[in-house]
């Protein structure tokens, strides 16, 4: 007790990291807070998903349990704990039980390195608002997102069900393919930031421009790859209901099934947080610099945490919005988008950005407003070239409307009156 009392009286430089004991105490507090917020957030997200789906499809959604269906996630959670767990006779049991855990663990670990607010100065020192401020920040995220594949593949294989196996295989090939584009698009971010620490990346964006403006094409590649990595529509082929029942989790029930869902939704949260951090300045409040410098007060922390949540919530909403906007890809389209379009574009883009940075350095233009404006201008041009001139429905959607138009023309030439298509309705 005396040690704790001494600790409470201890005073250090408010800008330096605290000593080991207070550091670990604050870490435990942050860790439990982040874990709880993620799990409660995931529960509320399942409700939000159903509510937003209902809203987009013009129906009510869950509205019986609690006010406005607010207690629905709690009811679902309880139900999943109480439900009977089935173990298929043919399944390989050890891996069948291990797989949901392997999906769950990396999903909840990834958020650890993402800073969610500005630091606070306390009498024990500066507390960074991130669970583990690793110097290798970004590499850690790349490593853990790769581990997420194992849970799904092993679930698919160990179930010993044809649909599960197909789901698991599809998912492994898909996640692996888009991981390359994801990694390559972030190389551009690292080029601009010159560091792999996420706090440095945020600070660099705060002092120049958000990477969304400076690295627009990298943002689009990352966004698409993030959708594919989280197995969300339009990339949800691993669990395409119309073809594979439920894909890799066909044989799962009760809490094990739940854990796959918690993993999927917390991956969504992490992906949204990453998009916000890498391309939208993280916890930075736009147009001001007062939030990026000492003195670190609690008000700054609250304000920046709010800014971060707004950004993350927008991308979570975007996930659900896209779900009800785009139809699912065909498997060959998915693969050619990843390998034949995103991979070469990401490679060329890295070179273009590297050359541009070298040129700006040669001209003597230092990172700042002017530097950001040039980067932004070049990116608008590149985006225009990529999406308007080069594409024309050829690269991004290989099964383009063009093929459909050819077919219609053939049918018309044969004198067949084609069925009603979106093109023919005017």
């Amino acid at each position: 007790m005396t040690e704790l009392a001494l600790l409470a009286l201890q005073v250090t430089d408010p800008l330096r990291l605290p000593n080991l004991v207070p550091f670990m105490i604050f870490t435990v507090i942050k860790m439990i807070t982040v874990f709880t917020v993620t799990l409660v957030g995931v529960a509320l997200l399942t409700l939000a998903e159903r509510k937003i789906s209902a809203w987009i499809q013009d129906r009510h959604g869950p509205n019986r349990v609690g006010p406005g269906g607010l207690l629905q996630p709690a009811a679902d959670g309880l139900k999943n704990i109480m439900k009977e767990e089935t173990y298929p006779d043919a399944a390989y049991k050890p891996i069948f039980i291990l797989a949901p855990m392997l999906a769950f663990i990396p999903a909840l670990l990834t958020f650890a390195v993402i800073p969610f607010a500005s630091p606070i100065s306390t009498r024990w020192g500066r507390i960074d608002m991130v669970v583990a401020d690793l110097p290798i920040g970004f590499l850690y995220i790349l490593a853990l997102t790769s581990l997420g594949v194992y849970g799904i593949v092993l679930a698919g294989w160990s179930s010993n069900n044809k649909y599960s196996l197909l789901g698991g295989l599809r998912s492994s090939a898909q996640m692996v393919s888009y991981e390359i584009s994801m990694g390559l698009s972030t190389v551009a971010v690292l080029l601009v930031a010159g560091n792999v620490s996420l706090n440095e990346i945020i600070f660099q964006q705060a002092t120049t421009v958000w990477n969304f403006f400076g690295l627009t094409i990298a943002f689009f590649i990352f966004l698409v790859a993030a959708f594919a990595e989280t197995n969300r529509l339009p990339f949800d082929l691993p669990e395409a209901e119309s073809e594979l029942i439920a894909g890799y989790h066909t044989e799962y029930s009760a809490m094990k099934f739940s854990m796959f869902f918690i993993a999927e939704y917390s991956n969504m949260v992490t992906a949204s947080a990453l998009i916000a951090t890498l391309f939208f300045g993280g916890w930075d409040i736009p147009f001001t610099l007062w939030d990026n410098q000492a003195p670190w007060t609690i008000w700054k922390t609250l304000a920046t945490a709010t800014a971060f949540s707004v950004k993350v919530l927008f991308f979570l909403f975007f996930y659900m919005w896209v779900r009800w906007t785009l139809p699912r890809f065909r498997y060959d389209q998915l693969m050619s988008l990843g390998w034949k379009f995103m991979l070469p574009v990401a490679l060329v883009y890295v070179i273009v950005i590297a050359a541009l940075l070298l040129w700006l350095d040669w001209l003597g233009i230092r990172p700042g407003a002017m530097w950001g404006a040039i980067l932004g201008g070049v990116n608008v041009m590149l985006a225009a070239i990529l999406f308007v001139m080069l594409d024309h429905g050829k690269l991004i959607s290989p099964a383009s409307s063009r093929a459909q138009a050819d077919r219609l023309a053939r049918l018309r030439a044969m004198g067949v009156r084609p069925a009603l298509t979106p093109d023919s309705v005017h």
Binding site: K162, V176, M335
Partner: protein, 135 residues
């Protein structure tokens, strides 16, 4: 930054693993098991299952995994290059994280161009061979 930065991560790993085990354990304790032969068989949309899933599958998936390793390692090589690009394109040591005026060098970009060229040849070869063709 020292080794201390990694302690919270170890703590979090322990915490998350504990939670995962606890969740499965809790659900295992509270369930009532009533297995039947039909319930235990593989679900194939209601019809009796035909054989099991230990069959051969398309070699394409194996090919994708192999290509992934090549291109992912290449990404891993590019990350240190990217985070040190400013120094690599400067003939003298950086001052304040910036290159002193008039000292830019083509070294960093040139090296990556050579690397990329080899990669693009590889990608073109794979493409031409039809390894990326799925229909």
């Amino acid at each position: 930054m020292e080794i201390r930065a990694y302690l919270p991560l170890l703590l979090l790993m322990g915490f998350v693993i504990m939670n995962a085990v606890m969740m499965l354990g809790l659900s295992h304790l509270t369930m009532r098991s009533r297995p039947t032969a039909v319930k235990q068989s593989a679900y194939e949309s209601g019809i009796p299952p035909l054989g099991d899933a230990r069959e051969r599958f398309s070699v394409k998936f194996y090919l994708v995994a192999m290509l992934f390793i090549i291109f992912d390692i290449e990404t891993v090589f590019m990350i240190p290059w990217a985070s040190h690009y400013r120094q690599l394109s400067c003939a003298v040591p950086l001052s304040n994280g910036l290159c002193p005026a008039g000292n830019t060098s083509f070294f960093g970009l040139g090296e990556m161009l050579v690397f990329m060229l080899i990669l693009f040849v590889g990608l073109a070869y794979v493409w031409k061979k039809g390894a990326l063709q799925w229909d």
